[in-house]
Amino acid sequence: MGLELKAAVRRLRGLLAVVAACALALTVAACGDSSSSSSGSTSGGGDSTAAADTTAAAPAAASTEELEATAGKSEDTSWCGDRPITVGVHDGFGINAWSQASYATVRSELAKCDNVRQIVAAGGGDLQKTISDINGMVAQGIDALVVVPGFGPAQAPAFKAATQAGVRVVAWASEPGGTRGTDYLDYVDWDTKANGAAWARWMGETLRGRGNVVFLGGPAGTPVSQNELEGVVEEFSANYPDIRLLTGDKDYPATNWDPAQAQRTMAALLAKYPEIDGAIIDYGASTEGALRAFQQANRRLIPIATTEANNLACQFRRLKTSNPDFELATISSRNWLGRIAARKAVASAEGIENGEPSLFALGLTEDSLGGRDPRCDPASPPDTYFSNDLSEADLEQFGKTD
């Protein structure tokens, strides 16, 4: 009895090993496939070493396009200076895959400087804790702070106090509130209006200038979605006048950037409009929810413009065969901007000039029609963002607070 059981376990183990080997082989194949396709493209963010060769010059001179092509990476470390300094790294939430990637880019960039010590913390979605963390970092004598202000303007008094204490505060990926220059040093982020324009341009081309499109935003009234909508509206009216934005020019149905809410919102739109030709959804995870709404309503998938996510790309691959009209274009999740934020903060504390841009009009990082297939790696976590070009080792070592 016991012997039989042991033998069964051994057989099972053998089977697992085979499955793992197959998965590994598939992964390698997928990677090879995707990197070869991106290196063939003109401005995609795929093979970093090849791209880095062309932008090895001083990063100060790099344009937003060049930086996007290298995912913000640079061989140059002149911004590090030589004075020993301490830099605080903070994220008001800091508990999901997006935050991990953000920590990893900022911290691996800072780690290039031997003279920089890091203090890292996460607010865990708690405003009081976030304020307390930042005050604590200032009390510990940080020289600069690289921060994702998850609570937006509610963190302004803390930043102001830090700035008054001589800390170089560089916010990124979320608007800090307050005034640039007096309340904080700089704010690095994508240009949300340009996002809208990029999505609209792709949608206009894909639909050949004619059709019904919906736009799904985040929480009601958030400036991010509001600006994106503005970009969409301007692009359509300037270049694609025959595209009709069913959800309106002023307002948008809200998803709260929550997949379940996005699914409900999309289901309602599908019920209301029998004919939708394209969708612009301003967050990749929301798009995954919207896809479920299509399937439940038994509607064929349509071209969708959104932001990148590994799982979304995998879904695209799976569903594309049965939905020939399904196309996908994505914008980078922009975690790599953390590298620029980190460089700006350190350079300022070291008294070194940094001429890199703060506002980034990003292009598409994936385009199923433009030869940059959405990148799917089933072995990676579902919300991996390949445009950041982060090595597994960096994500492992720096994608956390301790």
């Binding site: 865990g124 009081q128 009601a220």
Partner: protein, 837 residues
């Protein structure tokens, strides 16, 4: 001068109907000054209802109540008390979370209430004057049944009432304590006051009463001079027929030795040791002794309720009494003495309560066969003549005697080998007693055996074949045959108690430490210690932790939480909870953002302050009224407010907007000598509120209401005002917290306050507050808030993963809740020895 004594209590034509029952039928009742007037009748005859009407706690349908010449126009407990009536209830109405002294002080009319600062000394003096030995500093929750009853009596007597109503006062008293009580009653009536004495114990009634009145089925059957009626006559009046001799025949002496059924050897527990006894089939054995000498503990240990060592044999086989379940498996069935606490499920029906232990008989597999259950229970109801409208009536609505019969029905239905009965006839009327004695004897005659603990020596005399008398946890004497008499039992118990006082003295040092650990201030000390330890540790790892900037930021952030925690504590003290504090703090910030914007004027500031105060008061009133008048549970009521407030905030400010004027935020964050002014205010507030909680009428009332609303109401507390006031106070303190929050974030953010709901509860619970109300500490809450903020501040200094932010408070709460409830769960006896009185 007239020689006819004046009436001090006069009830005229009192009528009271409950659904299905006419409890009082035009009852008139008069008590004269200087007399002891006994009120007798079976349980359910209407005695308790009549006295509730006199005490103002039950409003009659018609009829009048006149106390010492004052007719109660609007009957309330407070009005009855003010007119000079005091009641000692059968089920004590003392408040568990208050000390003996506080209970006594709170029972006094406001104008005669001692200052709470010297309540302890005052209580000690009063207790000494009436020969009741209780420790004034003891928390009532730690007292035993008899001790609580003595306190109840003391509370009433010190009021020097014109009419003192004693409802079954001797049920839990020993013979010696009863003598003390009787002497006290004589002194009271000698001053011209009157005593209404309700009792089932007819010999006592005959001894103490001047006159007696008999109630039967809600009707007054007459008032007599006690000296002119015999016990038998009284009994006939009570039950409406003549009854046979109270006790059934004992096991005949010539029946030969009984086969041993229950054997105990070296049976020892915490309060008894080396007990050895044998009970044979067909025998009823009594365990006697002065209260607290281990006889009751031995019985409970045998039932598996208290822990014990030694050998127990039932029917020749070794039995485990590890827990009630294994004791039952061995055939031991226990009839609890405290039927409300341990015996009955008051909300369940007579049927369910009866069949509970014997579900095997009435169920097939997991399904209870209702028909079979009904038949079985109906038979028991007939057998024991349980007076109940139907078998589906909730047990809680039956009279005390009938409740006891239900318990009895449950125990005998189980067909025990050994029946353990703890005070089987406490609170049971004469008629029902006879039936219970009969059933107990029938159980024994059926081949089982019965062990009884009773404080009524006469009962043991009539019922038991043998009596073991306990002293200091040991059997000191065994009485058999003709020696089983009241005199012998009482004598053996009293002569053996000489050494108890010294034992009590010895335990006093340990007691004091334990009492401090169980007190409300101990958690504050523990938190302060933890705070200091964490500060030392963190500073050791990172010197910047103790920098002025760090400490001052920590104190500023802690003060917002502290204010809100104070508010939460107010509500928690009333046994409520306020979940809406978080969203209210957020709403305060949002509202402020409309009035205190950049460039705002003094006029706008004034208006803004008025508006936020109005908002806070409205929220507090809403919460209070939902809880008090709509009778929503506090969790539901404040959850509703939580959602509404959050909605309002989002409606006013969908996105963070409306930056606050730096003048305003600088004003809020100003420092005195490096310490934020707000924190200084929080400390002053905590200390002031703590003193008020302990020493003021307001604080006492708050704790009384939280401890037990019904009892506090009976004692004349203004429950409604207290509860609603607590919610309003909570909202106003949350407003202070909201002000500090607004200084932290500087903008109208609709979701900024939400976390405060949970953190405020955490802080208060860490500070030692009970979520069941009645106890808590403002200083503890302040330290709880400080410690939570310190943990939040320390994690980045220590470079800890942020999960510690959650682990540490979680561990602390578990530790605190566990440690506090353990410390408080330990019963410490506050009763000094009755001595040789």
């Amino acid at each position: 001068m007239s020689t006819t004594p004046r009436a001090v209590l006069r009830l005229t034509d009192v009528e009271k109907t409950y659904p299905g029952v006419r409890a009082l039928k035009r009852v008139s009742f008069e008590v004269r000054e200087g007399e002891v007037h006994a009120l007798v009748g079976e349980n359910g005859a209407g005695k308790s209802t009549l006295m509730a009407v006199a005490a103002g706690s039950t409003v009659p349908d018609s009829g009048t109540v006149e106390i010492d010449g004052t007719v109660l126009e609007d009957p309330t407990p407070a009005a009855a008390q003010a007119a000079g009536l005091a009641v000692v209830y059968q089920h004590t109405s003392v408040l568990d979370d208050l000390t003996v002294a506080e209970n006594m002080a709170f029972g006094m009319p406001p104008q005669r209430r001692p200052s709470l600062g010297r309540a302890r000394a005052w209580a000690a003096e009063k207790l000494a004057a009436i020969d009741i030995e209780l420790d004034p500093g003891a928390r009532v929750g730690e007292l035993g049944v008899a001790e609580r009853h003595l306190l109840e009596i003391a509370k009433a007597v010190v009021r020097e009432p014109r009419v003192l109503v004693l409802d079954e006062p001797t049920e839990s008293l020993t013979a010696a304590e009863t003598e003390v009580l009787f002497a006290r009653i004589q002194k009271i009536v000698a001053t011209g006051a009157a005593v209404v004495y309700i009792s089932h114990r007819l010999p006592e009634v005959k001894r103490i009463a001047t006159r007696l009145s008999v109630l039967r089925d809600g009707e007054m059957r007459g008032t007599f001079d006690a000296a002119e009626v015999s016990e038998d006559q009284i009994l006939q009046l009570i039950v409406g027929r003549s009854i046979e001799r109270a006790f059934p025949d004992k096991r005949p002496a010539d029946a030969g030795p009984a086969a041993p059924l229950l054997e105990l050897r070296d049976f020892s527990g915490d309060r008894f040791h080396d007990v050895a006894l044998t009970v044979g089939a067909g025998e009823i054995v009594g365990l006697a002794g002065v209260e607290g000498n281990g006889q009751r503990d031995a019985l409970r240990a045998l039932a598996g309720i208290e822990s014990a060592r030694g050998s127990v044999t039932v029917g020749g086989r070794g039995a485990s009494v590890r827990d009630p379940r294994s004791a039952q498996a061995a055939g031991i069935v226990y009839l609890p003495g405290d039927r409300h606490e341990e015996g009955l499920f008051l909300d369940l029906s007579v049927r369910e309560n009866t069949s509970l232990l014997s579900l095997g008989k009435v169920a097939s597999g997991p399904v209870v066969r209702t028909a079979r259950e009904r038949a079985t229970v109906a038979e028991q109801i007939r057998e024991l003549t349980i007076k109940t409208p139907s078998e589906d009536t909730p047990v809680g609505s039956l009279s005390g005697g009938n409740q006891q019969k239900v318990l009895f029905a449950r125990s005998t239905l189980k067909e025990p080998t050994v029946l353990l009965a703890d005070e089987p006839t406490r609170g049971v009327d004469a008629g029902a007693r006879v039936e219970i004695y009969r059933v107990m004897r029938a159980v024994a005659d059926g081949g089982s055996c019965v062990v009884v603990v009773s404080s009524d020596a006469l009962e043991l005399q009539g019922l038991c074949d043998r009596v073991h008398v306990f002293s200091r946890g040991q059997i000191v004497r065994t009485l058999e045959g003709d020696d089983v008499t009241e005199e012998q039992i009482t004598g053996a118990a009293l002569t053996a108690t000489s050494e108890r006082r010294t034992l009590a003295e010895r335990a006093r040092g340990a007691l004091r430490l334990r009492r401090f650990a169980a007190g409300d201030r101990a958690p504050a000390l523990v938190l302060a210690l933890l705070f200091i330890l964490l500060a030392i540790y963190t500073t050791g790892r990172n010197e910047f932790f103790f920098s002025e900037r760090s400490v001052s930021s920590m104190l500023l952030l802690a003060s917002a939480l502290a204010f809100i925690a104070f508010g939460q504590l107010l509500v928690l003290l009333t046994a409520g909870i306020d979940l809406s504090v978080g969203p209210l703090a957020g709403l305060v910030v949002v509202v402020l953002s409309f009035f205190f914007g950049i460039g705002s004027t003094g006029g706008e500031w004034m208006l803004g302050i008025v508006v936020v105060i109005a908002v806070a008061v409205a929220v507090g009133l809403t919460n209070g009224m939902l809880v008090r008048f709509v009778k929503l549970s506090p969790v539901l009521a404040t959850l509703a407010t939580y959602i509404v407030l959050q909605g309002v905030s989002l409606l006013l400010r969908p996105q963070p907007d409306g930056s606050l004027s730096p003048d305003f935020t600088d004003f809020l964050t100003q420092r005195v000598g490096g310490v934020p002014l707000a924190f200084v205010i929080a400390v002053v507030l905590a200390i002031g509120a703590e003193i008020a909680l302990l020493r003021s009428r307001w604080g006492l009332q708050l704790r009384a209401v939280g401890s037990d609303e019904t009892r506090a109401h009976r004692m004349g507390a203004r429950v409604g005002v207290t509860v609603i006031g607590a919610y309003v106070g909570c909202a106003l303190l949350t407003l202070l917290g909201g002000l500090m929050l607004s200084a932290q974030i500087g903008i109208g953010d609709p979701s900024a306050g939400i976390n405060y709901t949970l953190t405020s509860i955490t802080a208060v619970v860490l500070g030692g507050a009970s979520i069941f109300g009645g106890r808590g500490s403002f200083v503890g809450a302040l330290l709880g808030a400080l410690l939570l903020q310190e943990i939040a501040t320390a994690t980045p200094f220590l470079g800890l993963d942020q999960s510690w932010q959650y682990f540490l408070p979680g561990i602390l709460i578990l530790f605190a809740a566990g440690a506090y409830s353990r410390a408080r769960g330990v019963k410490t006896s506050a009763l000094a020895a009755p001595g040789g009185a």
